[in-house]
């Protein structure tokens, strides 16, 4: 278990999940999850479908609040020691600091430029120059600038799938968040586009704290510093990615990563 493994970094964890219980109506999906994520780390969450990993990641920016029956049963998620579910937390502000990229690339049917600056626009930034600068900066960080700089005002839906997903990443980092949540960011992409996204994550590592849900074990091995394995709403094991994949502590983890878990 996570608590039993000595953390290799000494600093305070950025995200602390403590005894977190979460439910949709009467159906509990997370049970007593304890998980620490450190600043600038890439954390992969793995586990079979329905194990609660997506729910956990969607609780970190409270986007799951949109799901009507969703509720925190007990426990807390803290960023820098601040409980995200405390009444004095401004959800809008939280989400500006915790970006999210979804499984299905879904740029708005607007221009590439408008997509890139959407978060800034709704934050009330109107100055054309600022917006253009931010669009260029974020598109460059998302390794998309060279491909789209001549057609910034064309529809984003005309881009290829991989480009659209990188645009979604650019859109998220335009707000300069500290944490980037990615819910199966490559699930809808072909292997080449997937490789580019992974390359991008490796480039951006160190600038943001990544939490990535993935079904692709090889992907977790390639990009993650640490990996957490979930099963049936419980955190089974969290450790260094290499340790998880080479010497897992728990037999459940081992059977999952070797593909023997029903």
């Amino acid at each position: 278990m996570a608590a039993e493994t000595p953390a290799p970094v000494s600093e305070e964890p950025l995200i602390q999940v403590e005894k977190f219980n979460y439910a949709y109506g009467d159906h509990q999906v997370l049970f007593d999850v304890d998980l620490n994520m450190h600043s600038k780390d890439v954390m992969a969450l793995i586990g079979p479908s329905g194990c609660g990993k997506s729910t956990l990641i969607r609780s970190i920016n409270r986007i799951n609040d949109l799901v009507e029956s969703a509720r925190v049963v007990s426990g807390s998620i803290k960023i820098d020691g601040v409980d995200l579910y405390a009444p004095n937390v401004d959800v809008i502000n939280l989400r500006r600091n915790v970006g999210m990229v979804f499984q299905k690339y879904n740029p708005f049917p607007r221009s590439i430029f408008e997509n890139a600056v959407y978060g800034l626009r709704v934050a009330g930034i109107k100055d054309r120059h600022d917006l253009e600068e931010a669009a260029e900066r974020s598109l460059k960080s998302a390794a998309l600038w060279d491909e789209v700089k001549d057609r910034l005002h064309e529809m984003a839906t005309g881009l290829s799938g991989g480009q659209q997903q990188r645009l979604c990443i650019a859109r998220a980092i335009a707000l300069q968040p500290r944490i980037l949540l990615m819910d199966e960011p490559c699930a809808a992409l072909d292997p080449i586009a997937t490789a580019r996204i992974e390359e991008l994550i490796l480039q951006l590592r160190g600038q943001y704290t990544f939490v990535i849900v993935t079904h692709n074990m090889e992907q977790a091995k390639r990009i993650a510093d640490r990996t957490a394995f979930f099963y049936k709403g419980k955190l089974i094991e969290e450790d260094d990615t290499m340790t998880i994949f080479n010497r897992p502590n728990d037999p459940l983890t081992e059977s999952y990563i070797t593909g023997r878990l029903a």
Binding site: E68, I92, R95, N106, F108, P109, Y118, C168
Partner: protein
């Protein structure tokens, strides 16, 4: 003898009975569809054949301008002894009679069948504008609330059911509701409340009196708005639901508020569909007779809504110098009673003795009515096409 499966042909069997039933079913459905198409075409053709000659003419400008630009009036038909017919309005009858002298045989007058149908066209246009405006505002607001804000549950289901049931209420019931609610009790600002006022709230400088709006465009438009409201709410809600949930989540994840999300990432993409629903609304609002019978429409009116016996505005200054008066006169259009096409057609068809002349006016009106509704619908479809090309996901 039925073929039976054998070693050589394990699939042998007799399916001629099944084949026959298949063919019969297919033909029954096909015949049903053909009947619908034929009847629709027959109606259209009938109206075109009878109505188009009234509206169009063989000489320049090819459109019967008199029919489209004059108000309805009495038609005088004078026959001479040779059997020639002269058609004229009220004023021309005496002159023709004098000219004919001894040759005059008889004179017929046919109500409402002379002149044109400008009054009904204008009235219907005003009613449609008011009703679609009110219904779109209320309906879209309601649909947004139901789709984006309201919590799922029994209550929401009941609201939905109520809205659907509203669509089944006979339109004459709406007419009576409009009479009671808008014509007789809706609130107005007046200096002195009328005797029939249900109750009046003095506000100091004026009085809010619940004495009704009288028979006028506003009353009729609001009544029609409630007739088409269920259609617009249901259709708009479906359009909002059709916008991918991902847009909402992404927008909120980028720090947008719920209203910003609706404003920038839901409504723009639902607009094409909402416009389509308003097409249905326009066609329905323009076509209803019962709701406007008690609330807005007159069988006959010899003035357009803006033709009132008011002193002309002083000509010395620009229109902006009297903008208050100009605005109040513009709004005055909506507090007038009007003629409307469906009610005009009803009057021509059912309220006056039938003859070739009244039938002519009637089919001319029906034809113009259809063209009007069709062109309104067509423009909405075009607009939707352009919007849809812009927003695709």
């Amino acid at each position: 003898m039925n073929p039976v499966p054998t070693a050589e042909n394990p699939f042998a069997g007799d399916n001629s009975g099944i084949q026959k039933r298949e063919t019969a079913a297919r033909w029954a459905l096909r015949v049903g569809s053909y009947i619908v198409v034929i009847i629709t075409l027959a109606i259209m053709l009938h109206i075109f054949i009878k109505g188009a000659p009234v509206t169009f003419q063989s000489k320049w400008p090819f459109v019967n301008t008199q029919f489209l630009t004059e108000l309805p009036s009495q038609l005088h038909v004078i026959e001479d002894k040779q059997g020639n017919h002269y058609e004229t309005g009220v004023n021309g009858a005496d002159a023709i009679k004098k000219q004919l002298g001894d040759n005059f045989r008889s004179e017929k007058t046919i109500a409402y069948s002379g002149g044109g149908i400008l009054g009904p066209i204008v009235g219907t246009a005003l009613l449609v504008i008011v009703s679609v405006g009110v219904a779109l505002f209320l309906g879209v607001a309601c649909a947004i609330y139901l789709s984006e804000y309201a919590k799922h549950g029994k209550f929401l289901e009941m609201v939905r059911l109520a809205i659907l049931n509203l669509a089944g209420v006979p339109s004459v019931v709406f007419g009576l509701f409009g009479l009671g609610a808008f014509v007789l009790t809706a609130p107005v600002f007046v200096d002195v409340p009328a005797d029939r006022s249900v109750f009046a709230i003095p506000l100091g400088f004026t009085t809010l009196s619940f004495e009704g709006w009288d028979t006028c465009v506003l009353s009729g438009g609001f009544t029609l708005a409630f007739v088409i409201l269920p259609v617009i709410i249901t259709a708009s809600e479906q359009c909002l639901q059709a916008v991918p949930q991902g847009f909402r989540e992404t927008s909120m994840a980028l720090g947008a508020t719920r209203w910003q999300t609706i404003r920038y990432s839901v409504l723009p993409f639902a607009t094409p569909g909402i416009l389509t629903s308003s097409i249905l609304g326009i066609a329905r609002a323009a076509g209803e007779t019962a709701p406007i019978m008690f609330t807005a429409a007159l069988a006959f009116k010899d003035k357009l809504p803006w033709q009132k016996d008011l002193p002309p505005l002083p000509a010395d200054a620009s229109i902006f110098a009297h903008w208050e008066q100009s605005v109040s006169r513009f709004l005055g259009i909506f507090t007038e009673s009007v003629q409307a096409l469906p009610y005009h057609i009803y009057t021509l068809a059912a309220k006056i003795p039938q003859n070739e002349y009244s039938e002519r006016a009637q089919y001319g009106s029906v034809f113009v009515f259809l063209v009007l509704v069709a062109s309104l619908a067509a423009s909405s479809v075009l607009l939707r096409k352009r919007l849809r090309a812009k927003y695709r996901w």
